[in-house]
Point group: D2
Chain length 342, copies 4
């Protein structure tokens, strides 16, 4: 069985994680190409990972015959267009979340994808490939907690990133807290419950960095959602967790509750010292989701080899963006917002 | 120092807890009288606790000179009127929550209370007297978690009570989930943050017992609140926790987070068996808050002896009911509701 | 029912805990007398607790008719003789552990106790009255963990006491780590398993305070014991826990394991801050065993009223001292020591 | 850089784990050969892992030039001889623990290894490559818990293996509990403390399966060890944990304590159901140490490429077997045994 040849676009922090996985940890593939406008990033691909073909022009890479598939890890605003280009050039496509920032644009991309049913399309909601989330999902699907009544999702970045974010936010648009931070949790809500969101209200507060009020950004925000079958969803997104990278999910059912990462344990070590009984915490997403990134990429390659589509599709991309935008609108207008669906 | 003589009204489940504490565990007081319409309850007071004076007429008890203070543990609908009567007859008053079910009635009672500044008035928000809540509050007040951005409160009763509740709800009005169950959590929101609630949205779902839809009751509900300084509050109230009596509170601040009873540990025992690593859970409020009830009653007696008013006052009673009613109205009308204050 | 009138001897740290409980928290008794050679301690009893009769002569107190029972909280070396005196003067007796420091002396006291079967005798192994230990014991007795194969007991005092202990040890004899610290755990071994100890080996190390080697004292020690039915016991005793008062017990059985206080949680609060996820720890025995002391004293009073003997008897006192002494001898001689029984 | 070509011998349960890792998850190597007497195992290697060269004669494999290194996962009794053969044929060697079952034989192998300093020799104490153990070791080496006073190691297999073990033990010699099960923990004691063992006492009990007494085998055993600097070590080894695969290590120091896998959490999921708050448990070593096996094999390959020897050497193999044998002798003779060193 010949190896799937992959070209990556975007070699920032997350791009490097993906590139190294594709080059070293994924069975059945080769990282044969890399595309970036930053010469240092192409040097990294060449020297550290042995990537043979480098490109500064994305379209050129998608047209070349040194790759079978692209891995898009570029800034969110480019995703739709890069998906379209790769699809039209006959390549399989993996793209990082979000699929896009604008609903209409995503719908067009969705159409492009639909027209190429033989090419694999996958969206990077990697939590679905985390061992603990999969264990939880299997319990739910087995009926072990009964019918779901409520889901609570926290996604809070560690405080150490705050200062650089504030600097960034003064001159840039992150897309807003809900699109930037909560989109993984929005996907979890839909994936875990199997329900669409009906209505949302979102609020937020800037406490440590009140200057974010001027930037129209949020340090911490919360959204409450009613799903179509009345299931409740509570989301907290933030950028200022003193203890680390706090991604926690709780699902309440009629027969039990479960929590994934109730606290963000870094490993299996417990320390007892003058502070009390201490469990060290995960500090960032590459640490917490290291294996999930590997399993996700492995699934992408397996889908190509098995000629099947992955579970996460373009509609998931459309709806997650739509809900995130509804949260933002709710916050901006201080009103209840209804979320549509197709 | 002579002992404070107390008369109790209401000897149901919680009434018996209070009566036994007053008779046996509180320093500086005597339980000298009991009032009930149920002869068996008066027999209990006489025979088990050695209460010398029993009454079937509440007003008569408040007028008698065998007591200095009343302890009101009757159904919520009677609280306001019973407070008024006792106050007017010169007695100190402790009443269980809620202070009342109707805002205007509470305001009148508040006026009565205000006119008797030398008589102690205390409202039974006993969680404020729980050791763990006091530890958490002290940490917050010491600035150890910085400025509060969000508070999350869960108050969920164990599943074993569901069937009798459904039966009850078919023929009675509980006042609604938010007034019946969430009022302690509403008090915690105000106490922990020191802020008033500005706006609420409440939702709910009946999953295991859909017949509650007809009764206008809820198995599980959630409310999101924005406080005056934009601090966020998330409340979950319910009656259907498979594992026990789940009362959990989380406070997020700019420098750290804390949780009270992250899971409802029953005691310090951990079991490892075929289910995994298991921590047994608290099953009901007398078990979880046994000591808090004692400390609360002790504080009431101490206030009388020290001629001072407790921290929990009539305004706390007014606001907690007001917010609970706003949650209920939000749920009933599916809209954002603004909460007033005086 | 008239109240049991109790006289206490010894009003040091633990004596004050007991005295306050007897005066304020125990039903059916009165603290009517106190005996001490320290005038300030008698002042405390008189002024803070309202004790009417104070004595500097212990025998005089035991002969007086203002008491029905004595509560012995004096230094360990006096216990046997004070038990004898009280028994001979017709009083019920509670004594703190250990019953004595010398096996032969304990046997004589045991005989005295046996000759007064109508007087209650109780030994202060208060852990048996702790809610979590009782829960664990009930699980074991119900067969929930099957047959016991191993028990592990930790009893480690917080570091903050080390410096004063070192100073003390330079000029005094504590009786040795095993008699001074491990005796509660030795009682737990016998109580939980229902087995006698057959053979022991004990070792120890002074690391932070090597000067204890000169004093013949230990900072931390361990003992392994084989019980008569081959059940294994592991004990760790120490004085230098950085995080607090670490009393932990584990019981392994053929169907499961259980742990009491796997870590010494202070309360139900969890903190997430720059150190990680933190559970504050208990700092001392009055904090950890507050309720156990109350329940223990209550049991003593109940035994007197019910004319029955408590579960903990003189033989428990004999064996626990015997085993502690065997541990010490094993450590001193670096050899396996067989423990006798009667 | 050309890839290290590896031949594996032994394709049982653990052998398959290693083989798959070498074939799929380790960078810089190829699994080019496999040796087994079981035809099905060679089929597995060929068909599932694409191994090109299969052997039924081990010496032949070590002489062939299709491999640079051997990976020995055969029964323990063959390890020494297979190491010798491979060394003499110029191959790098990885062998599973224990290095051998007989001290004199290990010493001879040690000499052989010493004579081939340019060939990498590595012993499979994979826990040293587990992330949590490495985190703990780094804390210790940084002085974060001060000087070590005591180490406690549990290694208990899940109950589900008991019946087949009893059957096996009736007709075979496992080497005894301490050599079979405790050897990883013995290595941890030496690795964590940096000290040699001076003296041991070992005890044991068969409770669920008393027939093991006849077989001279143990269901559960414990050993206490005094190390050369008086540091204490407590080991519990067993085969009958109801909840799963319980490998736990605790290190006490003068400034704090730490525990690795205080309970054997399977993942990050917490369940709240009718049993209480439940954490699922790891069920076996491939699950618990999946990543450690990968990192261990990666280290072996890296050592070959970097021309350096790994941290775990033949002397570690000698001492760990020596200590395990001393434990067994102590149990067999019911006496304290001194452990030698070279």
């Amino acid at each position: 069985m010949s190896k799937v040849r992959i070209g990556i676009v975007g070699l920032g922090r997350l791009g490097k994680v993906h590139a190294r996985n594709l080059a070293e940890n994924i069975q059945g593939c080769e990282l044969t190409a890399a595309c970036s406008l930053v010469p240092e990033e192409l040097e990294f691909a060449k020297n550290e990972l042995g990537v043979l073909n480098t490109f500064s022009d994305y379209e050129e890479m998608t047209k070349s015959d040194v790759i079978d598939a692209v891995f898009i890890v570029s800034p969110s605003g480019f995703h739709c267009q890069q998906v379209d280009t790769a699809m039209k050039n006959g390549k399989h496509v993996f793209t990082e979340k979000p699929l896009g920032l604008v609903v209409d644009e995503i719908k067009e991309t969705q159409e492009v994808i639909t027209k190429h049913p033989d090419q694999v399309f996958m969206l990077g909601f990697m939590r679905r490939y985390d061992e603990s989330y999969q264990y939880a999902k299997a319990m739910i699907d087995n009926g072990e907690i009964g019918e779901i009544t409520l889901i609570r999702c926290y996604g809070i970045d560690p405080s150490e990133g705050m200062e650089s974010f504030v600097e960034f936010a003064m001159n840039n648009d992150s897309g807003g807290l809900f699109l930037d931070m909560a989109i993984h949790d929005i996907d979890l809500v839909r994936w875990m419950t199997g329900q669409e969101v009906d209505k949302v209200w979102a609020i937020g507060k800037n406490a440590a960095y009140p200057q974010l009020d001027q930037a129209g950004e949020l340090e911490t925000g919360a959204a409450m959602m009613r799903l179509e079958d009345k299931t409740m969803a509570l989301l907290v997104a933030g950028r200022n967790a003193a203890h680390g990278y706090h991604v926690e999910t709780e699902v309440m059912g009629t027969k039990g509750m479960l929590r994934v990462a109730q606290v963000p344990d870094k490993n299996l070590v417990t320390v007892m010292n003058e502070h009390g009984t201490v469990r060290p915490c995960s500090q960032n997403f590459p640490e917490r989701f290291r294996e999930a990134f590997v399993r996700e990429a492995q699934e992408f390659v397996s889908c190509i080899n098995d000629k099947r589509q992955p579970e996460v599709n373009a509609y998931d991309g459309l709806q997650s963006t739509r809900i995130a935008l509804a949260c933002q609108e709710s916050f901006d207008t201080d009103s209840l917002i209804e979320v549509g669906k197709d």
